[in-house]
Each structure stands twice: as structure tokens, then as C-alpha cells.
Symmetry: C2
Subunit: 137 residues, 2 copies
DNA sequence: TCCCGATTTAGACTTAGTCTAAGCGCCGTG
DNA sequence: CACGGCGCTTAGACTAAGTCTAAATCGGGA
């Protein structure tokens, strides 16, 4: 796992103890945490960190392109480290979000839309996880 | 435009003056309103309606399948009358959501996902609206 | 008409997130 | 080493969106 401090510098972010603590967790997780979950996770190691700092840091990471803010399911805004583009599948029962690799589905005719200049897109799927599915962790 | 009262009965909802007022607006709009915008619009005709009633009614409509709750863009939960499935395009500048007809783009290989049972999906696009676009209204 | 369950209401409460003002810490300079 | 300044962090107040509660009201069937 790449050194978080290096990653931050590479994106023009001045590292600090708090920012590295947030980055250590949120830039390497697959659990699609909400902002408050990030706060909780980071406090496990840095109990003194404040809520405002976590929010500021997450917003900073989003601005600098290290993190993506996702608004996929009800009642939750969620963060996802940016590695490569991918799709999302939401388990309707649990609300858990799974990543779907970019090349597993294809979207056609995006470029034929006359009215829109599409910079970015993804497929959002909802449904249930098949019983045979093994846990990803 | 189909009679709102009939639509409500058809979905097993007991009509009331307030519910019809909310339905008259929200079941026929294309402006993808937030809950508070619905409240504002409905109050233009029924100034005495309360916030709680609007929220209750919207939730009821969602439960009964008349309305879809969309979480597409930052800081907004938005309602969309359910007519037929369609995709969404979000103007990155204004945040305005546009409907994209279902057959304008195609998604392939959804059924090849071994781990998931997909009940429902859509393509969410972001970008800018081309200058030549005529207003839809 | 009366009654009972369903609906509506105002406002308190909760939750997620932002803002503000003060304090702290780190770094370069003299 | 002391100083000064800027940027980071902090606690807590504030805001906005939405839910909950308890009381009042409505409306349809016996």
C-alpha cells in the first residue's frame, strides 16, 4: 500500500497528522463509508480528531481528486477512493454497495446523445446478492 | 392528464384534499423537485398544508410505487414520477437533472454478473448541455 | 347523527453537514 | 534561540433536511 503522505503531496496537499490518519483509512477502504463512519474509524486510532477536521479533509480530498463523493442510495452520501472508473451495485436489503469492474458491463450509444456532452458516466444497479457469492474481504 | 384521484385509488391510497394536491403537482412534473420544493409548489395553491403532510405523502407515494426517490447529485434527494424506466443526465454546472429515454443508450452483459441478481438499473451521466440544446419545456 | 379509525397539524427532535472564531503548531527568518 | 505568520485544528453554534409525537380534525359507514 502506497505511502499516504506521498499520495497527499502528489496531489498538492500539505500532509498533517490528521490528514494522514484520514487518508490511511479512507484511501484504502472498500466499505464505502459515510463521513461519520470515516470519523468513527479514524477516532479508533486518533481519538482527539474533531468532526470538522474529518469533514474538511474529506472535502479537500474530493477537491483534489483523491476521493469521489457518491450519492447512490437513500440517506447516504458515501466516499470512494478513486482508482479506476467502475460501476456500482447496491444490495437492496442491506444497502451495502459493491464495486463492479468497468469492463464487466458495457454501455453503448452514449456518444450518440446530441444534446449532451457526457464527461462521465456509470451504471447503477440494484438488486440482491446471490447466495453463492463469497465475501470479498 | 389522468385524474389524480383515480390514480391514487388505483394504487390503494385513500384520496384526501392534501394528497390530491400533492399528487396533482408531483405526479406530472418534470422538474425533479426536492421534498421542500414540492412543499413550496403545493403551498402556492394550498397555503395551509403542513410540511409533515407533504413528507408523509411523498413517502406514501414512494411506498406505493407512484414515485421514485432519486439520489443522484450532491445535496439533493429528488422525486420523479414513475412512468417508464429511463436514464438520467446531470448538468454539472447547474445540477439540473434531465431524463434520457430508455432506448437511447443500451447496457450490455448485465445478465452475465454471476454474483448479483439485478432487479433494476440505470445509467447516470454527468456533463454539460450542448449549446444547441433547445429547452424541453 | 354518532363514532372510530385515518389523516393532518404544529412544533419538538434528530441527523448530517457547514461555519466561525479562537488556539495551536510548524516553519523560515533574523 | 526567539519571533512572527500562516495554515491547520478545534469546539461548539448554526443550518437544513427529514422524522416523530401527541393532539386536533376529518370523513365515511352503521
Amino acid at each position: 500500500m502506497k505511502d499516504t503522505e506521498t499520495t497527499l503531496r502528489g496531489s498538492g496537499i500539505q500532509p498533517s497528522a490528521q490528514r494522514v490518519a484520514v487518508g490511511d483509512y479512507v484511501l484504502h477502504t472498500h466499505e464505502h463509508p459515510s463521513a461519520d463512519l470515516v470519523w468513527k474509524r479514524v477516532r479508533e486510532r486518533f481519538p482527539w480528531i474533531s468532526r470538522a477536521t474529518v469533514y474538511n479533509t474529506l472535502n479537500l480530498f474530493v477537491d483534489k481528486g483523491l476521493l469521489q463523493r457518491l450519492n447512490l442510495s437513500e440517506d447516504s452520501v458515501v466516499f470512494d477512493p478513486i482508482t479506476e472508473t467502475h460501476h456500482h451495485f447496491i444490495d437492496e436489503k442491506s444497502g451495502i454497495i459493491h464495486d463492479v469492474p468497468w469492463d464487466r458491463v458495457q454501455v453503448c450509444n452514449i456518444e450518440s446523445l446530441r444534446d449532451f456532452d457526457v464527461h462521465d458516466y456509470q451504471v447503477v444497479m440494484r438488486g440482491s446478492v446471490k447466495a453463492t457469492r463469497r465475501s470479498k474481504h
